[in-house]
């Protein structure tokens, strides 16, 4: 087996194959994308080239950067098969036909290099069948790697090894998938549908059948079968729309064909005439004309499950999910879907997986459930569930029966334990090298803590500053705690990491507090907060120790500004970072302008002179540009070329800590920058540009007001082009612009709209 995977090949340039190739490219690995030669086209690579071109236009984008797209080489199976000999991992992602796959494997085996991994992305065909008749050497190198759609964004990878698969090879593939592709690898057994789809399809099918039998609307069903259970808001019907209704009959038939007669799936796998009609009419979901939901001429519509006619969407109340027992008692739909689903999950062991954690992880990462089925059972109570199942005449699975009187997970001190099939508890180990703040928090006490933030010791002299406020927004309290942390680190520690484990790194300043202060005209308080943010972030920047920000998900506004002030950044690949203040009628005022100006002025690719850097930052900030990935953030200079990118979310803290430690020895705080800015001349220039945008209908009247203030900051205020304003000068301009804007009705209206609707007001 190869030591590492330096080059890969994906065969099959369909949606999945092409997007898997994109994820290899995102990891920086050159990848060959092959498909058949399409009859009648002069371009023999038409399929692969077409798939790459299409991906460059797809949103959400399969590629993290344009640079990544260049790592995918298109080809075809007739001319380029020989190139497989240079590939360390070959992924087959062609249509689900055993004969075609087996024929392809023979071709692959004839040219591949010995010890290269070959895997199938099949979601329905057992490994044993795929390798039937293949030589032992092939079986040793073969496994199933089941990606979820879209592969860049879905973190689950189900890995199925056969009895002959070389364990070292499987381990090597799993490690690459973890470190480089950013996937959480769940080992699944060679059983139909593996884990996530086996349970997920059961849940979806039951969800549809029961909604129809109980006479619920799709909105009612989705309101129950989503948020209350920690399931994405698409619920059942919205998810089927997303996946495509046309796939359902195939997947159901495939599962029904391969599952034993005794399997509970057969009972729920009823023909649904409505779905057949919808497919026949092209209503196959979001990729078709519409699905259970569609965009109508006058707004969103939903289908009536009884009549099949579309009507305007009727908002359904979301039930309270805090007490799941109550919900399962009171809502027949909740019970008739979730009861059997949880029972089915318990029945899948050991057939589909070795332990409950594998099933939970698969549902969390493959279906984006907040809690896996066994975590849900723990929340409900295994006894209660078993009794209710029995009372309703349903079979209580042995595993659930065994869990009576206990829970599937429990803590032993800081150790997390899970209930094994042997009825004993076992420790749940993180993959090697993974460091989770969650684990540290269970085992230790914070060094500092208030209502909005905590400071943790993550070992080896490194402290971790954690935001704990709502949406990890910045307020006076967490700024104060960060200030204290900056004072504390040099006393006994070496470095600081800024990190948390919320849904997003930080959405910016707490707008609710700002609006409240503005409404009671507490201008002094607002000015104090702006000044204190500047002071604290600059204190971080010029501290005598290195700091590493570890953003992931959204890092907006103040969340972006803290990242800009850290000595270095270790970002998760999926980082969406930007200065979005203009969207709420403000300008970045915690040093965001000073940092971006200095980055662009220092960028080697920028032309000289007072205007280019200011103009570039003006363009980005006035349009609230947000990166579409960490790689894209580097292109936008929100991240430096030397900043690190971690593909696997679970490994972010460990990587950030390592980066911080690497900086310690030779660390020297940066020198403050000076600027060359265009002053009033530039401001006039920016004003002209905004006027043209308004004429083109791309800017609103209030955009012009906000952009005017931003122009004042970025042009250096009254600076002349022969002046060299300091960082403090620009910070003063930031504060001035911010405090003028926050007093304006247009800004307050924008903030209020953002807080109530979550969307920007275009006033």
């Amino acid at each position: 087996m190869m030591e590492s995977i330096r080059k890969a090949a994906i065969i099959g340039a369909g949606t999945m194959g092409a997007a898997i190739a994109a994820q290899f490219a995102n990891a920086g690995v050159p990848v060959l994308l092959l498909d058949i030669v399409k009859d009648g086209t002069p371009n023999r690579n038409a399929l692969a080239e077409g798939a790459i071109a299409k991906m460059l236009k797809t949103d959400p984008a399969p590629f993290m950067s344009t640079r990544a797209a260049k790592l995918v080489t298109p080809g075809n199976l007739e001319d380029d098969l020989g190139q497989l000999s240079s590939c360390d991992w070959i992924v087959e992602a062609i249509i689900e036909r055993l004969d075609l796959k087996q024929a392809l494997y023979k071709k692959i085996d004839a040219v591949r290099k010995p010890g290269s991994a070959v895997s199938s992305n099949t979601s329905t065909i057992p490994l044993a069948k795929l390798t039937e008749g293949m030589p032992e050497s092939f079986k040793r190198d073969f496994l199933i790697t089941h990606f979820f759609n879209p592969p860049r964004y879905m973190r689950l990878l189900e890995l199925v090894s056969g009895p002959e698969t070389d364990a070292k090879l499987a381990q090597s593939v799993a490690r690459f998938a973890d470190l480089m592709l950013g996937k959480s690898v769940v080992s699944a057994k060679d059983s139909p549908g593996f884990i996530a789809n086996r349970l997920g399809v059961f849940w979806l099918q039951t969800g549809v059948v029961e909604a129809m039998e109980l006479g619920l609307t799709v909105e009612e069903a989705d309101a129950i079968m989503s948020r209350p259970f920690g399931i994405p808001k698409t619920g059942v019907f919205g998810l089927i729309d997303l996946v495509g209704l046309d796939l359902m009959p195939h997947i159901n038939a495939s599962l029904a064909g391969s599952l034993p007669k005794s399997d509970a799936f057969h009972a729920t796998n009823k023909d649904i005439p409505l779905i057949k009609t919808m497919i026949a009419e092209g209503n196959i979901g979001r990729k078709g004309k519409g699905g259970f939901y569609r965009k109508g001429p006058k707004g969103r519509e939903a289908i009536d499950l009884a009549s099949g006619a579309y009507r305007p969407v009727r908002k359904a109340a979301t039930p309270d999910g805090r007490d799941l027992r109550k919900l399962l008692e009171n809502s027949a739909y909740a019970w008739r879907v979730m009861g059997p689903t949880l029972a089915y999950a318990a029945s899948l062991l050991p057939e589909a997986a070795d332990d409950v954690h594998a099933i939970d992880e698969a549902m969390r990462l493959g279906y984006n459930w907040k809690l896996g089925p066994f975590e849900l059972i723990d929340k409900i109570g295994a006894d209660w569930l078993a009794e209710k199942l029995a009372k309703d005449g349903m079979k209580v699975p042995a595993l659930l029966d065994a869990a009576r009187g206990q829970s599937f997970y429990k803590l032993d001190g800081a150790k997390r334990l899970y209930l094994g099939l042997d009825d004993a508890y076992h420790e749940l180990h993180r993959p090697e090298g993974v460091l989770m703040l969650e684990d540290i928090k269970r085992a230790t006490k914070p060094l500092l803590k208030n209502a909005s933030a905590s400071l943790w010791d993550i070992g080896d002299g490194v402290l971790c500053f954690e935001l704990t406020s709502k949406s990890n927004s910045w307020d006076a309290q967490n700024l104060e705690l960060l200030g204290k942390a900056i004072e504390l680190v040099p006393q006994n520690h070496k470095a600081l990491v800024i990190y948390n484990e919320g849904a997003h790194f930080s959405v910016g300043a707490n707008l609710g507090l700002a609006l409240f202060a503005a409404n009671i005209a507490a201008w002094g308080e607002i000015e104090k907060l702006v000044a204190s943010g500047q002071k604290t972030f600059k204190a971080l920047k010029y501290a005598p120790f290195p700091s590493v920000a570890a953003p992931f998900g959204m890092a907006l506004g103040g969340g972006c500004e803290i990242v800009l002030h850290a000595s270095a950044v270790q970002a998760h690949a999926e980082t969406y970072i930007g200065l979005v203040e203009c969207g709420v009628g403000l300008v970045p005022a915690w040093g965001g302008c000073t940092e971006m100006l200095s980055r662009y002025q220092g960028a080697k690719t920028m032309p000289k002179g007072p205007m280019p850097a200011a103009a570039k930052v003006f363009e980005m900030v006035s349009t609230a540009t947000v990166s579409k990935s960490a790689a894209n953030a580097k292109e936008l200079l929100f991240l430096r070329e030397s900043d690190g990118i971690t593909m696997n979310r679970y490994r972010l803290l460990a990587d950030a800590k390592a980066k911080a430690l690497a900086l310690v020895e030779a660390y020297a705080a940066p020198e403050p920058p000076t600027y060359q800015l265009p002053g009033e001349d530039g401001r006039v220039g920016f004003g002209m540009a905004v006027k043209e945008f308004r004429k083109k209908g791309l800017a609103t009247p209030y955009d012009e007001v906000v952009a005017g203030e931003l122009a004042t900051v970025l042009s250096g205020g009254e600076a002349d082009i022969i002046d060299r304003p300091s960082e403090a000068d620009i910070l003063a301009l930031e504060r001035g612009a911010f405090t003028r804007l926050i007093r304006k009705d247009g800004t307050l209206a924008r903030i209020e709209t953002m807080l109530t609707t979550g969307k920007p007001l275009r006033n």
Binding site: V684, E692, K695
Partner: protein
């Protein structure tokens, strides 16, 4: 007074800025190769040249320093040949021709290369450091007005409908496509070396353009406006060059003059309707030549926008059939500094080709000006 003639014309292919085949070619290389191509075609003794006069609208970055001198050296011209750069925005290289003709008339040289270049891929329109004068902007904001807005103003003031503009653009594309198909542009083009190979063909024309496709475009400069990308000249990379020399020099060295430069003029107008600039400039030049618009056989009118082209045709009383017979800038492209030498050289060569007697080459200039040249076949 010694009369100046145009005794040779060549240009590079014109290709779309940023996405075209010349986007990665430095403008100084582009101009040097074009000039070297012209010198070679004419078998000139380059040591006879007084100077290279090079027009460029945004002479900075790779187009900076004294571009003309660097291009002359880069083109392999003898070091004895002078070089200076002229900025008259879109009129830069036509201005270069006027300067050459003036020098010849004044006895200050016998032969000049008047050329122009613009890489709109590599140096942005407006330059890298646009720093408008706040005082002037307060007094006269139109001095800095964007070109699209002026085109809208002309459309409104001259009451030129969107449909008229689109019909004009379709015709420009049709004429350019026909000229290309019949090989009529081939001999004016000097192939240019790029990293990806030789660039030999124009890249801007969209022969498939129809009134229907244009009608579907969104206004490019104003939500309420009538000017679209389809009725504007595209951002373009390109270079052009003409040999301007005395009639005597041409005769002595066996060069075949295409036309003599009869008159030239430049004129200002209100900046917010800069597109109408050719009217005043052309009237002056025609009067200096002692002819009227009715005497013209060939007109090359730079199509910065369809709206201003139509307004100029109307106000000058031009015969549309004689205007831009091989297509104009809407189809072929408008590399700012290079356009003047292209349309003047083109007008001269069209006189030779059609056997007509008088030609007018004219163009509008940002900031509110026009420039015009009247030629007579030799």
């Amino acid at each position: 007074m010694t009369q100046a003639v145009i005794a040779g014309y060549a240009r590079s292919p014109f290709t779309l800025a940023a996405k075209g085949a010349l986007a990665r070619v430095r403008p100084d290389d582009l101009a040097a190769e074009t000039i070297a191509g012209l010198v070679a075609r004419l078998s000139l003794n380059a040591a006879d040249l007084e100077a290279v006069i090079l027009g460029c609208a945004f002479p900075e970055g790779e187009q900076g320093l004294n571009l003309a001198r660097l291009v002359g050296l880069n083109a392999g011209l003898p070091q004895s040949v002078g070089g200076y750069t002229v900025n008259h925005f879109c009129g830069s290289s036509m201005q270069a021709i006027h300067i050459a003709a003036g020098h010849i008339a004044a006895g200050a040289g016998e032969a000049f290369i008047a050329a122009g270049v613009e890489s709109m891929s590599r140096v942005p329109m407006g330059g890298y450091n646009p720093l408008p004068n706040p005082g002037l902007y307060a007094k006269l904001p139109a001095a800095y007005m964007g070109m699209g807005e002026t085109a809208e103003n002309v459309a409104a003031k001259w009451n030129i409908s969107r449909a008229e503009q689109e019909a004009f653009a379709v015709e420009s594309q049709r004429r350019a496509a026909a000229a290309i198909a019949e090989g009529r542009l081939r001999e004016e083009i000097v192939p240019i070396t790029s990293k990806a190979g030789m660039v030999e063909r124009d890249g801007c024309p969209r022969p498939e353009t129809s009134a229907e496709t244009l009608a579907g475009l969104k206004p490019a400069f104003s939500t309420e406006g009538s000017v679209t990308a389809g009725t504007s000249s595209p951002l373009t990379d390109g270079a052009s060059a003409v040999l301007v020399c005395s009639a005597d020099y041409a005769a002595k060295h066996g060069l075949k003059p295409l036309a003599r430069i009869l008159a030239s003029a430049t004129a200002g107008c209100a900046p917010e309707i800069m597109g109408i600039g050719p009217v005043a400039a052309s009237k002056k030049a025609l009067a200096r030549a002692g002819i009227s618009a009715a005497d013209l056989d060939v007109v090359e009118l730079n199509e910065a926008f369809a709206s201003q082209s139509l307004a100029c045709i109307r106000d000058l009383g031009l015969d549309a059939a004689k205007v831009n017979i091989d297509g104009g800038a809407i189809a072929l492209g408008h590399p700012l500094g290079a356009t003047g030498a292209r349309i003047t050289g083109k007008a001269a060569s069209l006189l030779a080709r059609t056997g007509g007697r008088y030609a007018l080459a004219t163009q509008c200039i940002g900031g509110g000006q026009g420039i015009a040249t009247v030629l007579e076949r030799v």
